[in-house]
Amino acid sequence: MSFLTNYFSTIYTSVRSLLKGMWKTGYYFTHHKEIITQNYPENRDSLNLPERFRGEVVMTHNEENEHRCTGCTACELACPNGTIKIVTKFDITPEGKKKKALDTFVYHLELCTMCNLCVEACPTGAIKMDQAFEHSVYDRRLLTKKLNRPDSKLMEGVE
Amino acid sequence: MGAGSLIVLIICGIAFAGGGIFLSQVLAKTSTNPQKGEAYECGVPTRGRSWIQFNVGYYLFAILFLIFDVELVFLYPWAVVVKDAGWMAFAEIVVFLFILFLGFLYAHKKGALKWM
């Protein structure tokens, strides 16, 4: 007899456990307020990413098209995987002296791991992380960027 | 409609599948490369042949199924008339099922229903 009771109690408990699971999914099926989906392309304008989110490295420029990068290559050295290439040139200062200055800040977005080490290393705060994340392109050469804007200059007073 | 509908349905099936496949043959672009025709096995070449003997643990189930299937076939005519035929039919089927159930118990006892 114990065999039979066993048999039926197994059936009972199994069916119960299964029904409980179905109850749960049934609950979610009928309660649409539990849905947590965000509509990405529509919510693009209202999408608020946390300000610390690291999407890419950018160089800040002010209205006069000036940046703060002195071309010291500290960021290039700090970067673990050679994402940054600083090309320097020699500017003639008003005093007529030659001075090393930034020519091109080459940034390989396709290599960057968003580790923030370059930003930490920069002594002048010339670069920062930006929240842009829509980097999809058809050709990866487009991901190599030049961060300093054309004709931009070093900001006054930044050493 | 009568039995002719079966023919219609069969033709429909052939037309549907054939038409679809034909359409796809016409419209789909194709490409060939040496690896394309090989069997897919998680992205690595298959080892050995795929058509090999295969130790099917299930053939006993298939045998048992066959026997129960025959039993089922005999049950259908019985089921249709049992309501009219009364207790006699009931008794007959009880005997019938009982004998089969013996076999079932035997299979169970012998472990034939266990996985091999």
Partner: protein, 179 residues
């Protein structure tokens, strides 16, 4: 049909049936519309980016809204490989094989720095493929390590634009985009 720059206008908005719901477009338009809206990805993730790919599938980002959720485990039924993660030299033949075994038309998305260029493992490693496009042709690249789920969605939408345009992979070159 001219190829739009992926960013503007945003690719996600073009979603009407061709011809405003009535199938008046040419056959090609219909086909491209169907293809672009039914990109079934192959379940292919090698490392960290695969987790973000899962997040994209998950409820919060839900790529099923675009019809991408039918992730197939076999390349025979998939339309797009999302290379989510690093490709190393040992894996490269496998990837090639998977790509080869896919039926036409097939698309490839390189997700993350690793698949795009080798990323974090570009220098001083002896076993990493420096970009999946050395192995198979890639349609869309996403930068990021890992890219956000939204970024992956963006990439898929970008791919949709491309598929809709009907232009073959070779045609969309750097020159045509910048034009």
């Amino acid at each position: 049909m001219d190829v739009k720059k992926p960013m503007d206008p945003f690719p996600g908005q073009v979603h009407e049936t061709p011809g405003g719901g009535i199938l008046t477009g040419t056959l090609d338009d219909v086909i491209n519309w169907a293809r672009s809206n039914s990109l079934w990805p192959l379940v292919f993730g090698t490392s960290c980016c695969a987790i973000e790919m899962m997040s994209t599938a998950s409820a919060k980002y839900d790529w099923s809204r675009f019809g991408f959720e039918v992730a197939r485990a076999t390349p025979r039924q998939a339309d797009v490989i999302i290379i989510a993660g690093t490709i190393v030299n040992k894996m490269a033949p496998v990837l090639k094989r998977l790509y080869d075994q896919m039926p036409e038309p097939r698309y490839v998305i390189a997700m993350g720095a690793c698949a795009t260029s080798g990323g974090p493992f570009f220098y001083n490693t002896y076993s990493v493929v420096k970009g999946a496009d050395h192995v198979i042709p890639v349609d869309v690249y996403i930068a990021g390590c890992p890219p956000r789920p939204e970024a992956l969605l963006h990439a898929l939408l970008t791919l949709q634009v491309k598929v809709k345009s009907g232009a073959p992979r070779e045609k969309i070159t750097i020159g045509e985009i910048s034009k």
